[in-house]
């Protein structure tokens, strides 16, 4: 069909051929990935390089495409819940929330206050977890091995805490329509408080060990500068956007749940480079800790799931869009219902998709080693891009 419609030649390696024809003898076409360690998953980037400099870059996607949107159409609303933990395995709860929130908005379902607070706490814990993994893995890309061990030590604690309530360690399926599947207990609260107290000195240690380190500075300062115009044209969101000094965060600009009752800052950095994005994420961990501590103070008693919560929802006809702030940016679920038990159309807007689409533009003219640093600083999660 592709041949017929567009007259494409399908023989051989389609993408490389499409990327060519090699313009001159001086340049080289290089395939980075799909199994390259610095792409964190199966992402392939075709590069045209002149010596060490990149002339053109084109990511090739689809290596772990699972057609999540089709699965949404053939499963009932409640059966789609476990899929959400698998779209972005690092910040699974944000995707849980986006989908559950979309269905709740469609049905006009009220969520009890306690459930909202539980969602805030667990989602922020998950965000910390995601940022910590990014931190370790990014430094691994840059050649520092130890930090990822420290990051995993902290991640283990968060995973233990979340496992207690949600039952899983990575691909959570915890939120339900109208609440959460299980209430939190005293041990959870105590452990979370302990963790908050534990992480603060750790963050200081990370700053001494890594952030102030002269080698890291040389690898991230003035690398991968992204201008405001580029960010807007490509629809970048999340820490990538805030690293260029734009204060856009869904939690503040389009408040959902109880975020408007909590006091926290939106960190930004004005340097626009990889260091800016690095610092924004590190500060976000601190802000998340602040949010968790406040939420633990404020959490009211009550039911953890709304008594009207349907087990098998059949939302009325209509269309909704629900956006939440994930660790990588704005996550959006666009749901269309025709009044039956199956969604008519599910569209997942993943932040990494837009962020990565910027890569050809920013990688142009940089050194190959810096491209790795740029890719890492975008914080990509490939399953989320491929869906």
């Amino acid at each position: 069909m592709f041949d017929l419609e567009l007259g494409l030649d399908l023989s051989g390696d389609f993408y490389t051929r499409h990327f060519q024809p090699t313009p001159s003898e001086d340049t080289l076409i290089l395939n980075m990935g799909p199994q390259h360690p610095s792409t964190h998953g199966v992402l392939r980037v075709i590069l045209e390089i002149d010596g060490e400099y990149i002339l053109r870059a084109e990511p090739v996607l689809g290596y772990i495409h699972r057609m999540q949107e089709k699965m949404g159409e053939v499963k009932r609303y409640e059966q789609y819940l476990p899929n959400m933990g698998r779209v972005d395995y690092l910040h699974a709860l944000a995707w849980n929330w986006a989908y559950v929130g979309a269905v709740e908005r469609l049905m006009g379902l009220e969520v009890p206050k306690r459930a909202e607070y539980i969602r805030v706490i667990t989602c922020e814990l998950n965000r910390i977890n995601s940022h910590l993994l990014w931190w370790g893995a990014y430094l691994l890309d840059l050649g520092a091995f130890t930090p990822i061990m420290y990051a995993f030590q902290d991640r283990e604690i968060v995973m233990d805490i979340l496992q207690r309530v949600s039952g899983s360690r990575l691909t959570y399926c915890y939120y339900r329509f109208g609440g959460v599947s299980q209430d939190i207990d005293d041990i959870f609260i105590e452990k979370t408080k302990e963790f908050c107290a534990y992480l603060k000195p750790r963050l200081k240690m990370y700053k001494d060990l890594v952030t102030d380190n002269i080698i890291l500075r040389k690898r991230v300062e003035d690398i991968g500068i992204i201008e405001e115009e580029t960010l807007r044209k490509y629809g970048a969101t999340g820490p990538v956007l805030r690293g260029s000094g734009i204060k856009y965060d869904v939690r503040r600009k389009e408040p959902y749940s109880v975020y408007s009752e909590l006091d926290f800052e939106i960190p930004t950095a004005s340097s626009k480079d990889a260091l800016g994005r690095y610092l924004v994420r590190m500060q976000e961990i601190e802000e998340s800790l602040k949010i968790i501590e406040q939420a633990l103070e404020k959490i009211p008693p009550g039911p953890h799931i709304s008594p009207q919560a349907p087990r098998r929802p059949k939302p009325p006809r209509g269309e909704v869009y629900f956006a939440v702030e994930g660790a990588r940016g704005e996550i959006g679920v666009n749901l269309v219902s025709d009044g039956s038990a199956y969604p008519y159309r599910v569209k997942l807007r993943s932040p990494s998709f837009s962020n990565l689409s910027m890569f050809p533009e920013i990688a142009k003219g940089t050194l190959l080693a810096d491209a790795v640093s740029i890719l890492g600083s975008l914080d990509l999660v490939i399953p989320e891009i491929d869906r």
Binding site: K75, E156, G167, Q182
Partner: protein
């Protein structure tokens, strides 16, 4: 020129020393990892963990599950990994004849009065294909009889996917036997 170079070297050495200090401190800290399989995590650390599902026995008979064979879990499972088969068997009971005072009444009325024939549901098989399970917990939450729960079997590994097709009834039987044995030993 020389000054900036010296400063850079000095900064580098300071960075290095700070790093070494932190590394050394952590070097003296105790081991955090668990040496599997020589050690395993403590059971209390598994609270809330979702292993594969298993059947909950009736309180009075540990060999029979609470399941009423409604099939809800099978319907709701997103991965389609539960297979329940049940059959209805009539319970043997003496046949009630309508009360003699009612014998003249029209037929449909007497039917209402006569107690319905009692049937019992027997679960013939309950199979779980754990290969496809996404551990979402929907089946456990939706079971009207409270007949499902998560097991704490976490050390599962095998060379064949067939080993993860569980017969949950058999598993229940094994558990019940183990429990009986334990009780016997206690009473001894």
């Amino acid at each position: 020129m020389i000054g900036s170079k010296l400063k850079e070297t000095f900064d580098g050495v300071v960075s290095l020393l700070i790093g070494l200090k932190i590394t050394f401190k952590n070097f003296l800290k105790p081991n955090l990892t668990v040496h599997y399989p020589r050690k395993t995590v403590k059971p209390e650390e598994l609270t809330g963990y979702r292993g594969h599902i298993e059947l909950v026995p009736k309180p009075e008979n540990p060999f029979v599950p609470r399941c009423i064979g409604c099939g809800l879990c099978r319907d709701i499972c997103p991965s389609g990994c539960i297979e329940v088969r049940s059959k209805r068997i009539a319970e043997e009971k003496e046949i009630h004849t309508p009360h003699f005072g009612l014998q003249d009444t029209p037929l449909d009325l007497t039917r209402k009065v006569a107690p319905p024939q009692k049937t019992k549901i027997e679960i013939v098989s309950f199979e779980l294909n754990y290969n496809y399970c996404s551990l979402c917990g929907l089946c456990v939450q939706n079971c009207p009889a409270g007949s499902l729960r998560f097991s704490k079997d976490i050390y599962l590994a095998s060379f064949s996917s067939r080993d993860f097709e569980f017969d949950l009834l058999k598993r229940l039987e094994k558990q019940a036997q183990a429990r009986l044995k334990e009780e016997e030993e206690w009473t001894k």
